[in-house]
């Protein structure tokens, strides 16, 4: 049953004739106790899939907004046990909303990949995105996740060429995350033309839902991407709201997410 939350979320969005809305926040930000309310705000705003960032001291793929969120969360005392506590509590409150952990290799593998995969499974985590384990090093995490039936979500980028794509897709599940810009999170956005072309190629190569992220901020951008991809990821813009509003972030986050979701819904009406 745990395996079905991601596919059914994408299927539901597809039935409604729209792209799925995937939202990211950093776990433990602004504090471990305040993350629950932020996650609930994402769901209430209409997110279909939740990415929960596992903080790391050295987030090399992240721009200033998510770097700062990582440090806020760590300073506020978040731990790996705390992240799994947040995930378990989320699963109890929201039995059907897919939850994906996103982070870096060291915190995920330090106690052993099997330990991590089992913790994911028992906390009701549906998938894992590990930024710095490419297919070449899959044995560090992939086999353990597959054994625990937790999806391993891989990243494709503008530098992933046709020769390399099959290796990226091998052993991937859940969805394929297309990083639309060569760069770090939250800064520039890719030209829509280049996204259209890349998504078309990826769709031709896999049956997994193709989800596009990095640099998506406005409802208009989300709608434009949603017109070609199966899903859109918004992260840094939400994390900035959490950074700005702190313990009072739930309201602004809910309103912002709702505006993204409305833009994706509007596409449904137009179609």
């Amino acid at each position: 049953m745990t395996l079905n939350r991601l596919p059914s979320a994408f299927a539901r969005a597809a039935e409604e004739g729209r792209a799925a809305l995937v939202t990211f926040v950093t776990g433990g930000d602004p504090s471990p106790a305040d993350t629950d309310a932020v996650l609930d705000a994402l769901v209430e705003g209409g997110a279909d899939v939740i990415e929960l960032g596992m903080p790391f001291t050295d987030p090399i793929a992240d721009g200033p907004a998510i770097q700062a969120a990582n440090l806020r969360a760590l300073d506020a005392g978040i731990s790996t046990a705390g992240i799994f506590g947040i995930a378990s509590a989320f699963r109890k409150r929201h039995p059907h909303v897919p939850l994906v952990l996103m982070g870096y290799a060291n915190p995920m593998t330090i106690r052993g990949a099997d330990w991590f995969a089992e913790e994911c499974k028992s906390a009701g985590v549906d998938g894992v995105i590990c930024v710095d384990i490419p297919p070449e090093e899959d044995d560090q995490l992939g086999p353990a996740l597959r054994k625990a039936e937790v999806s391993l979500i891989r990243l494709a980028t503008p530098t992933t060429d046709a020769a390399r794509l099959p290796a990226v897709l091998e052993g991937a599940s859940g969805f394929l995350y297309y990083v639309s810009v060569a760069g770090i999170t939250g800064l520039q956005q890719a030209a829509q033309d280049s996204i259209d072309a890349a998504v078309a190629k990826l769709k031709a190569a896999t049956d997994l839902p193709v989800v596009v992220g990095f640099g998506v901020r406005t409802p208009e951008q989300a709608a434009a991407i949603g017109s070609v991809a199966h899903g859109v990821v918004v992260g840094s813009a939400i994390v900035e709201l959490v950074g700005k509003h702190g313990t009072q972030a739930a309201g602004p986050v809910r309103d912002y997410v709702a505006s993204l979701r409305a833009a994706l819904n509007a596409k449904e009406k137009a179609a």
Partner: protein, 414 residues
């Protein structure tokens, strides 16, 4: 650039084709960088086979860097330790004089090799991280020499304690970009360089300064730095007719140490000691001894020993030497540590400062604080070996850049 035949059971045959040294090393990078890392590996393999590449590298080593660097018999230091040792004890001490290289440290060896690779790959912009500033200066130097624009990422804390090197980099035309995140030292400079690289892969080459990072960096940095050990081997055979009994080098990331050690790894009679920066002591939380005080983990593209907490969060390193102030170590050192081939000893700030002053007074050579960590091991090791035995210490850099730090530690004002 050694091309000698390597036996199948050799300690010199690693990494494997995936870039692993046992469980260490590898390619833990974001997908955006993977195609470039694979490109770099292909290009490096081709360059290694290309006589023109080797000729250009060797020519620059001779005429630009000033190689070979001397192997110098440190007569007074030898006598100093013999005077303290029991009769018949006190090894003959040689220095490998990497501090006499152009730019004042071993770092230039690697930078020459990597900039030739960058040019070969058609890259038009260079980035690098630096701690003490030695690698930054060496990178800025080769960029000036070859006319390529260069950006050096340097922790704000390091900029403050290494002002002379910052100014040197600027004189050489480099942009020095201060890094204010995290501990504001070498680790964070490397984070920021990687963040730049991921957005600029199309035209930018990252000259990593130590034998760490994703494969093939640990291998190619080691190969370029192996000129140190290869020369030492020839020089000691000529001077003494035999190989040394002990090699000593300081280890931060570990490029000067692996450069000295690697050509000797299969010589089982040659013992090796790498000295790690123990800061205020390894029983405190202010040190940079990742082998002695850390455990295996993944950071900056490779699996290696790291200073970290039980959740895998990286903890801040400390050393009086900015070049050793890093919470990790090159993956080949992690492997040599676990296999027992090399012994790694912690050396405190205090011990390094004492060795810094002793070497200056006894030999008229002001060593870099990094190299002083290697010299400090002589305090116990010199008298444990007999008078007919030989120690080679890698004096990897000169200490002019450190005089402000040392003066402040000694309570002197400049």
């Amino acid at each position: 650039m050694t091309a000698a035949t390597i036996l199948p059971n050799s300690l010199r045959s690693l990494p494997d084709e995936r870039g692993h040294f046992g469980q260490f090393g590898g390619r833990y990078v974001a997908e955006t960088l993977m195609p470039l890392i694979l490109d770099l590996e292909r290009e490096y393999r081709a360059a290694k086979q290309d006589p023109a590449f080797k000729a250009e590298f060797d020519g620059l080593m001779t005429h630009y860097v000033g190689r070979p660097s001397p192997l110098y018999y440190a007569e007074r230091l030898t006598a100093y330790y013999r005077a303290k040792a029991p009769a018949g004890m006190g090894a003959k001490i040689y220095f490998k004089r990497e501090e006499l290289n152009h730019t004042g440290a071993h770092k230039i060896n690697n930078c020459i090799g990597q900039i030739l690779l960058a040019i070969r790959m058609g890259k038009t912009r260079i980035i690098a991280e630096t701690g003490a500033g030695q690698h930054g200066v060496a990178t800025a130097t080769v960029c000036a020499r070859f006319g390529l624009p260069c950006t050096i990422f340097m922790g704000a804390k390091d900029i403050e304690r290494q002002q002379p090197n910052v100014f040197r980099m600027k004189l050489l035309g480099a942009e020095v970009r201060p890094v204010t995140s995290g501990s504001q030292s070498l680790k964070d400079a490397m984070n920021e360089a990687l963040r730049d690289w991921v957005a600029t892969v199309h035209d930018t080459f990252y000259i990593i300064g130590t034998a760490a990072g994703p494969h093939p960096y640990p291998e190619l940095v080691r190969d370029f730095q192996s000129v140190i050990g290869t020369e030492t081997r020839e020089q000691i055979l000529k001077a003494e007719g035999r190989l040394p009994d002990l090699l000593i080098a300081a280890v931060g990331g570990g490029s000067n140490a692996i450069g000295l050690f690697h050509p000797f790894l299969d010589d089982t009679d040659v013992a090796m000691i790498g000295t790690e920066a123990a800061g205020h002591g390894i029983d405190t939380d202010k040190h940079a001894a990742s082998l002695t005080g850390g455990k295996p983990g993944i950071l900056h593209g490779n699996k290696t020993y790291l200073l970290q907490d039980e959740d895998g969060q990286i903890t801040e390193a400390h050393s009086i030497s900015a070049g050793l102030d890093y919470p990790g170590i090159g993956p080949e050192h992690s492997w040599l540590h676990e296999s027992g081939r090399v012994e790694y000893l912690p050396v405190t700030d205090r011990e390094a400062l004492d060795a810094f002053q002793l070497c200056s007074l006894q030999e008229g050579i002001i060593p870099a604080l990094e190299s002083a960590h290697a010299l400090a091991a002589l305090e116990t090791k010199a008298q444990q070996l007999r008078e007919d035995q030989i120690i080679v210490v890698n004096v990897s850099g000169r200490g002019d850049k450190d005089i402000y730090t040392v003066a402040s530690a000694m309570g002197a004002t400049i």
